[in-house]
Amino acid sequence: MKRKRTISPETTREQLAAIIVDKLREHQIEAVLVGGAVVSIYTNNKYESYDLDFISPASHDRLAAAMAELDFRLHGKDFVHPHTAFTVEFPSGPLGIGDDVPIAAEGSMIVYGVRIVMLSPTQSVMDRLVSFFVFSDRQCLDQAVWIAQKHPVDLERVKEWAKRERHEEKLNVFLNRLRI
């Protein structure tokens, strides 16, 4: 029999993601974990995000119905829960990185026996670099560097992508940071 997982203040980001993905699958809903939560996972919380962003093709009503079964309620655009500080959002899709839209998520992790589909380290680096390229956000540059320092990242692919995005100059800032 399937064990019911409860959400508590001790529930980690990864555990919460698994509980949510599991619940969504009960409703035949697929969702991909993206954004800052993925960075937190890949950097072992060097960057700490309290948002869990999922991209899902499901309608808002279906998502809200599934989330309600976990006692999440809608607060603005965020789903909040009485027993966790983490908030959950379903930004509109499709999944993309810069001008590469749509893309398929290439990362995953298994928690509680649940497969969480998420951006891969390479995709997460590119996702962070978009904010550095477009908004000159150095926090995101740091995050991209931290991911690349902890995980194998396909730098050739990142270079090709940055060239297509016409941000080779800013990519060099990232590559120089990795060389230190």
Binding site: H75, G76, K77, D78, V80, T87, S131, V134, F135, S136, D137, R138, Q139, C140, D142, E169, V173, N176, R177, I180
Partner: protein, 109 residues
């Protein structure tokens, strides 16, 4: 640290800020470093007159950035990027890590 190279601490800070964030305006730079707006304005205008910076109005705000046509743009930004990389962590966090990516209106922080 390299104010002798740039002529003044304020010029050095203005250039580091602008390269770090892509652009900068008088009050943003002054507030970040605790400088007087008048001092920052004088230095930015001097750099603009010298062709190092260009400016553009966005609403009432005059934003300055490195002149894209500057012949030594790549070398200058490369030097400033190197200086940014070598800054002590405390200074980096304090002055050069303001959030620039947008946050959705109403998002809980």
């Amino acid at each position: 640290m390299y104010e002798a190279l740039f002529g003044s601490k304020t010029v050095e800070k203005c250039l580091l800020y602008i390269v770090n964030y892509g652009e900068g305006h008088i009050n943003g730079i002054a507030k970040t470093f605790g400088l007087s707006a008048g001092n920052v304005q004088r230095q930015l205008e001097k750099l603009e007159a010298g062709g190092i910076l260009v400016s553009q109005f966005s609403g009432n705000t005059k934003n300055f950035r490195i002149n894209p046509r500057l012949a030594i743009k790549t070398e200058l930004t490369g030097l400033l990027e190197r200086m940014l990389m070598l800054l002590p962590q405390e200074q980096t966090e304090r002055y050069f890590r303001q959030r620039r990516r947008p946050r959705r209106t109403g998002k809980r922080i």
